[in-house]
Every structure is written in C-alpha cells, then in structure tokens.
C-alpha cells in the first residue's frame, strides 16, 4: 500500500456525473446547481462546513432523497433514483453518517439486510462466513457476529456499516464521515481500504472534516458552501486556501485563530531568548 502515489491509474471513464442538481426542502434550498464528476479509480473528497449540503447530496445519490431538478448520469446512462433500491441496484453503496443499522439485529443480519442469501430458508452459515471474511478484510475488532448491534461500540458499528457497503461489489462507494468514530488503527485501515477500492477501479466519494485524512487519500477535493459548488482543489492545495474556500472568506475564524497562535508562539520564543 506504500507506493500507490507513483503508479496511480489514469482517471478513467466518468462513473457518475451530476449537472445542476437542486434539492429544496420547502423554502430551504439545501442544494443549488451542484455539478460533480467522479471517475473510475478516483477518490473525490466532499468538504464543507456544517450545513453545506454534503450529507444531503449523499442522500440524493443514495436515493434516500429525490433531487428537485438536475440530471444524473451513471456510467454513461442518464438515471433517476426513485428509492434506495434503485441506487443499490445500479451499484451505488453508501455508508451513512448515522450508519443506518438495526440495533435489534445481529451483525450478520445487518450486513445482509435486504440481500439475504436464500430468501425462503436463510443460509445463516454462508452468510456468517461471508460476514467474517468482509470484517477480516477491514481488520475489524468484532467480538462476535452473533451479538446485536446495540452491544457494539461506535467504531465497531462503523466497521460493520462499511463492511455492509462492500457486500454487493458496488461501482461507486460513498462514505459520509467514515473515520469520525474510529481509532487510530481503524482510521488507517479505512484509508487503506479506500485506496484498495480505488485501485480496483471503483469511484469513491468521501465526506470528511479531517483535512489530514482528506489530503491523504483524495485525488480531488470538491468544496461545497451553502449548498453550492465552491471550487475544486487538489491535495497539494494549502490548508489556508481550502479553509477559505470552505468558510467563504480569507479572513475567517480559522485563519484568525492560527494567526493568534503564531503571534503567541513568536512572543514566547522572543521572551525565552530575552
């Protein structure tokens, strides 16, 4: 996994392109004229402040919400998603921010929810083996796949949700805050996993507030602000530029804070010298 940066696969065919996507909730325009392209073998990071519309966009792509206007093209074909089933059938898998797990069901049942093997005589043994295989690929630390989700920690639940998204061999994976609840090792595993998925030629959309994670895996960084596109950046962009694109001003809380800290540090070193 160390030398992926040298032999990056060329950005292939666009898996997904959105043109002019709008989503209105009553009087609120959550998304306005969003354009987005994701190519095969590419990781696109979606960043923006709270309320920028990232999660809404993901839900539109997952078929949970329907776009008010705009067109969506998936692998060259114009598509409309009437419900989550359409998205799953196309090969769009989603790890939602709230994970969307059923706490009363066990890990195996959650991973296979809606896609059970042998609908009239559930094949529990095969499902359990597949669940363990998926979880081991993620180096998951799950005590037992026969315990209800309610007894798992936040990080374990996150891993289960990611394992579930991989079950159907999707073409595009969307991860809404995939590392927010994870420990150091699991975060690294998820980032590794994102790279592995990308190297298999899948498109990945990742939402994160952690600029370090974004920079580590993203090929392109798409900034949303107040429900609109606010620029496309690359991992070599400076933090300053990204933050001002996210917050919408060069003079913002983040830059003022870092300026204060630098000044304070300068003072401290100056006093120490004196």
């Amino acid at each position: 996994m160390s030398n992926t940066s040298q032999d990056m696969p060329p950005a292939g065919e666009p898996v997904l392109s959105l043109r002019g996507i709008c989503k209105q909730f009553g009087a609120v325009s959550a998304l306005t004229d969003i354009d987005l392209d994701v190519h095969a073998g590419e990781v696109v990071a979606l960043v923006g402040d709270n309320g920028a519309g990232k999660s809404t966009l993901v839900k539109v792509l997952a078929g949970v919400h329907q776009a008010t206007t705009g067109t969506m093209t998936f692998r060259g074909q114009p598509v409309t998603l009437a419900g989550p089933n359409d998205a799953l059938a196309l090969g769009i898998a989603t790890v939602f921010q709230d994970l969307a797990l059923c706490e009363n069901l066990d890990v195996v049942a959650n991973i296979f929810l809606g896609k059970e093997m042998q609908p009239y005589a559930l094949d529990e043994v095969s499902m359990e083996i597949r669940a363990w295989t998926l979880l081991n690929e993620l180096s998951a630390r799950i005590p037992s796949v026969r315990v209800p989700i309610a007894s798992l920690s936040g990080g374990q639940r996150q891993t289960v949700a990611i394992a579930r998204s991989l079950l159907l061999e999707p073409k595009l994976i969307m991860l809404d805050e995939p590392t927010a609840a994870l420990g150091v090792a699991q975060t690294a595993e998820v980032l590794n996993l994102i790279e592995r998925v990308r190297d298999r030629g899948l498109g990945v959309i990742m939402i994160s507030h952690n600029m370090e994670d974004v920079r580590a895996v993203a090929d392109r960084i798409v900034v949303l602000r107040l429900g609109r596109n606010n620029g496309i950046f690359y991992p070599d962009t400076s933090n300053q530029e990204l933050v001002s694109a996210i917050t919408g001003a060069a003079d913002n809380a983040v830059s003022r804070r870092s300026g204060r800290r630098q000044a304070a540090q300068h003072n401290v070193t100056g006093e120490a010298r004196a």
């Binding site: 996994m1 997952a62 949970v64 419900g83 989550p84 089933n85 799953l88 989603t94 939602f96 994970l99 969307a100 797990l101 059923c102 706490e103 009363n104 069901l105 049942a109 929810l113 809606g114 896609k115 059970e116 609908p119 009239y120 005589a121 559930l122 529990e124 043994v125 095969s126 359990e128 083996i129 363990w132 081991n136 180096s139 630390r141 799950i142 005590p143 037992s144 796949v145 026969r146 209800p148 989700i149 309610a150 007894s151 798992l152 090792a185 595993e189 590794n192």
Partner: protein
C-alpha cells in the same frame, strides 16, 4: 500488509477474539442463559414463572383446575383467541398495533353464520369469504398507515367501532345464528380430538425434527470452519422437549385428548415462527420494527412489509373468529366483544413480544394465551363474577407490560437492545 499476521494455529473464524468468553457444552449453555436473563433478555422466562405461580394458586384453591378434563377444555378455548394473538405478534413485530382484532373476529363469525346458515352457501366458501373480508380490513389499515400516515392506534380504534357496527348490521334483528351441531366445523370446535397414538407420534416427530435441524446446522458449521454448538446440548434439548411433551400428551389423553383445533393453532405458530426467523420476509419485519429508516435504506420495501403485517393480523383475526364461532356453535352479536381484543394483545405481550417493535416470537402467542386462559378458567372454576375476572386480567396485563418495559431498559443498559 503487516497487520495480516497469520497465527501458527489459526482459531476458527468466529473464535479469533480473545476478549470474548465462549460458552461451550452444557455448563456453558447454563451460564449463557443466566447472563442473558440478568441483562434483561428474558425470553419466555416470565411466562414460565407466571404460569407456575398461577397454576399453583388455582390448584390449591380448586383441585379440579389441573385435571385432564379442565386442561383439555383450556386447550379448546386457547386455540380461538390464540390464533388472533398470533396475528397480534405479527403487527407488534413492526411496532404497530391492531385494536380491532376482536371486532374483525366477531364480524368474520357473523359472515360465516349469515352466508352458511342463512344463505345456504357451502361452508368452505363462507369461511374463505370471511378470511378475505379480514384481509380487506388489513389492506385498508395499511393503506391509511402507508399513504396518509394515520397512526395504526387511531385507525384500528376507528375500525373497532366500524366493524362492530357491520357485525350488528349483517346479523340484523335476530342477533344470533346457531350453527348446525353435527357439521364438521362445529365438531372441530367442540369435540374433535387427536387419537392418542397420533398425539404421541406428532410429539415424537417434533422432537426428532428439533434434533435433526440442530444436528445438520452443527454439521454445516463444522464443515465451514465455524464452531458448532455442542452435540450434548442438542441431544439434551431435543430429549427434554420430547419427554416433557409426551408426558403432557399422556396426561391429556387420560381425558378426551388433544383437540385438533389446538393442533391447527400450534401448526400455525410453528409456520409463523419459521417465517419470522428463517425467511427474508421475517428478517425484514424485525428490521422494520427495529429501525424503519435503516430498513428503507437497505432497500427493503417498507410499505410492503407494513402491508403484509396488517393483512396477516386481520386475516388471522378473522380465522380466530371463525374458530370461535365453531367453538360456541353460534355467530352472535356478542362474538368478538368484551375482553377478546385485550386477551389477544395481552397474550402476545405476556408471551414476550415487545410492544416497542422489533422483538418477539410466534411462540409468545402460544405461551401467552395459555397464561390468559388459565386465569380465565381458574376464575370461572372459582365461580367469580366477571367484574373480578376483568380486574385480575387487567392487572396481569399491566404486570406483563411493566416486565417488558423494565427488561427493555435493562437490555439497553447492558447493550443488548
């Protein structure tokens, strides 16, 4: 990748985590059971304890209570409301409620009476018509719930009155229709019992089936590299089940024997248990009851699941109504009124199906209705008035819901949901 170290002796796929205690063998099974109960995963324990208390009290008050003949009567009575309660289990699984099952059952018995006795339609067609009408009520409730967002509590409460009105309307001024005593339906409801050898054979077959499924699951798990359940445990469970039920069958056969109507009820319970535990539909029901939005995002047709739950509940209520008409040999204005509704719901809850959705089992209808009917039968034997009967049944229901709520709170704090 350095993290994929292969251990020299790789443990089974599900035994890799060293932090988990794995209970093996009979001792382990007992320890696991105690753990589960202490964390609030009570299963059918409250029923067994409750039944023991109820039977002890009534037996000490009236020695006829546990006699074979009274227990056979109890099984006849349990079957009718039990079938209705099975439908309630279905609807509670998805976290909704149907308060109109009593009225629907009464209406179904009225339909059978009017069509069969008054209009001369063949009895099979009359029964099918009653079941179809029950299914239509389910479709209406589901449509109100799915399309208009009407809470099932309100729509079925409205249905309770409306359907009762329909029952009174089609029965007309006569009020009550007697079903012919020598007909197959009434014989099934009043006297038809299994021959002794059939009851023993059925119990034995069930025991063998329990062993066979347990054994084949264990074999498949072993072949797949997962840890199998212990053979001793499987044998012990199947043996205990068979011996206990053969003794019960023997005791009941001292009198008339096991009613075929009860056999029909148990058959429906077993079928429902399979459907809820071993099919995709049952998994979806549990998921919708646990987290509706998560189920929807997994691509489950949530509206379809609600539809199936409402339709099954109403149809089983109608079937229960037909059986109770057979039991009473009449279709009357009183059928399905009074405590039928509450008994059906109470039985499901007492048996361990949660009012909060996503938790339950078909067997809770069977266990719960035996508790409810034991109370009813015991109080009848004591010749108590219905005022006392209602109060005591109400108190038992309240206790059952309290146990359910407390167990749920305990499960949450022990992380078992």
């Amino acid at each position: 990748m350095s993290s994929d170290k292969v251990n020299p002796v790789a443990p089974a796929l599900d035994r890799a985590d060293v932090r988990v205690r794995h209970d093996a063998g009979l001792g382990g099974a007992v320890r696991g059971f105690i753990d589960r109960v202490r964390s609030g995963d009570l299963g059918s324990l409250p029923v067994v304890v409750g039944l023991a208390i109820i039977w002890t009290v009534f037996q000490s008050l009236n020695p006829v209570f546990l006699s074979s003949s009274n227990l056979v009567n109890l099984l006849f009575d349990s079957s009718t409301v039990g079938v209705i309660s099975l439908g309630i289990v279905c609807i509670l699984m998805v976290g909704e409620i149907d308060l109109s099952v009593g009225s629907v059952s009464g209406f179904a018995s009225a339909i059978v009476g009017v069509l069969w006795v008054n209009a001369g339609v063949p009895v099979v067609i009359a029964i099918l018509a009653a079941l179809a009408v029950g299914a239509v009520f389910g479709v209406v409730y589901a449509a109100l719930f799915n399309r208009l967002g009407m809470p099932s509590f309100v729509s079925t409460l409205a249905g309770l009155l409306a359907v009762l009105g329909m029952q009174l309307y089609i029965l007309g001024s006569t009020g009550s229709i007697n079903l012919p005593y020598d007909s197959a339906l009434v014989v099934l409801g009043q006297t038809l019992v299994m021959p002794a050898f059939v009851s023993y054979a059925l119990v034995l077959a069930a025991g063998v089936a329990i062993f066979a499924t347990g054994y084949s699951t264990a074999a498949r798990r072993r072949a797949a590299g997962l840890t199998p359940p212990s053979l001793a445990g499987i044998v012990a469970r199947a043996l205990a089940f068979t011996v206990a039920l053969e003794l019960v069958a023997f005791y009941l056969n001292q009198d008339r024997g096991i009613p075929w109507m009860f056999g029909l009820f148990v058959g429906l319970v077993v079928a429902m248990d399979y459907a809820l535990k071993r099919t995709k539909w049952g998994r979806s029901m549990t998921a919708v009851g646990g987290n509706r939005e998560a189920a929807r995002r997994s691509g489950i047709n949530v509206r379809g699941i609600y539809m199936s739950a409402f339709v099954l509940c109403s149809t089983l209520a109608a079937l229960g109504g037909v059986l109770s008409a057979a039991r009473l040999a009449s279709a009357s204005q009183q059928a399905g009124t009074g405590d039928v509704n509450l008994n059906a719901i109470a039985a499901a809850v007492i048996g361990g199906t949660s009012l909060f959705g996503g938790r339950g089992s078909a067997y809770s209808a069977l266990l719960g209705i035996i508790v409810i009917q034991s109370i009813a039968s015991g109080l009848t034997l004591l010749d108590l008035s219905s005022s006392l009967r209602y109060m005591i049944t109400g108190a038992v229901l309240a206790i059952a819901v309290i146990v359910d709520s407390l167990a749920r709170r305990s499960r949450v704090s022990h992380g078992r949901a």
